[in-house]
Amino acid sequence: MYEIVFHQTDGSSQAVQLERPLPIMQAAIRNGIPGIVGECGGQAMCATCHVYVREEYLRSLPEKSEDEKEMLEATAAEFDERRSRLGCQIVVGEDLERIEVDVPETQL
């Protein structure tokens, strides 16, 4: 079992348990987590699955691809050089068993 915790700007949070590895974006959409849009279906084409990864998990993340870096420049909410990632590009459940992310106030 793997786990993703989504923290919302209103202070609420939702934990999602996964039986199989899934990208953060897909886990959010499949479980109805507010604030994650994923308009392009997970192809790093729309920058609407932006999340801020919490500090303690940053070391465990895969490197950003060039495409992800470029799309992150275009997020609707403020870009955080360290913590901003696209949820479609981070798979939870392989090298990463658990993660906590902050959901930005807007994606569009």
């Binding site: 392009c40 790093a44 275009a74």
Partner: protein, 421 residues
Amino acid sequence: MSHTVIIGAGHGGIQVADALRTISGEGKITVLSAEPHIPYQRPPLSKEFLSGESHEPPLPLRGQTFYSERGINSKFSTHVTEVSTSSRQIRTADGGVFSYTDLVFATGARNRRLDVDGAELQGVYYLRDLDDALSLRSALADARRAVVIGAGFIGLEFAAVARQRGLDVTVLEMGDRPMARATSAIVSEYIVTAHEHAGVKLRFREGVACIHGENGGVSSVSSTDGKEYPADLVLVGIGVVPNTEVAADSGVAVDDGIIVNEYLEASEPNIWAVGDCSRFPNPLSGDPIRIESVQNATDQAKCVAANIAARKAEKRYEEIPWFWSYQGRLKIQIVGHVQFASKFIVRGEIEERRFSVFGFKNDILTSVESINFPAHHMAARRIMTMGLSLTPGKAADPNFPLKEFSFNEKKKRQTENDSGT
């Protein structure tokens, strides 16, 4: 109490329901979908869903609980048979009757069918919905040779996946270049190079004459040039026809799409149309156009939801269109209307497989096509959405800071808005 009924549960239909409910917790919302499945995302169906890497169920548009939690009444496997605009009632094939205060057609489009001998043979596939994608995915597991009819988005996305899966792939296209409706000749040429490099065979000015069968399945495709291409799988991607029959039968004006005005209102009161089925006035030219894309469907949906909630047509649809395609290692992102441009400027190096083509009409930027260059695409979207003046000279100048130009202006305008000036 108001009751908005939405026919169709694709990207547009679901976005109308979501946006309307976000604006107001009041009023009844019903979505009627002919498909049996929980509404799902379509773009992956022609891409990673076919790649065989994933056996996850399709990505839903919203989670299972969305509909009940947001108070959206959703009915699947429900075919609308009749709309009466005078009594404002909808009838469905299973005997249901729904009264509406507003009605949204989000009925999408269906595949144009191939009309040649052999088109009904087993092994001839189309790709539009989840059921198409499921049968195509299982057929791909055993297929060795695929012939693709049509070098548009669907044909080429499929060709790339099939080739990656090791199939021998030939694409037949009647026109003289790929994706001709959506891209410039420069980008078309690059797309040809990229697919040929991957081992896909592309044949232009060559259509299908007939399909031959053997033991009930497909065995080869004869082209209009008299050539014969062996195949055990044929994928037809020759465009779509908008689903307008129910609208037309109810007296709503239709002409290759449901005709709507700049507020996306149809010819009859309290009826709207969004997405692939909607023919709307292009904000740039006034000419009626129909656009088949996720962005168009979702942005039109938000516009219609705002107008329904306001109880009057006050918001015009004026978004700049953008869309994308993923073909093997080729990432194509397009913003604007390529067909308006008469002059094209290349920024970046085509040889490095990473560039953009800026299209201009009378030195006004009308489109940007980016190949493997998301930074250009996002800058272009900011520039076009804000209506910034980018000259052909600046676009061509490699030292001109495109990103900073788009961002500085955006920040400046935000500051102006924040300070209330």
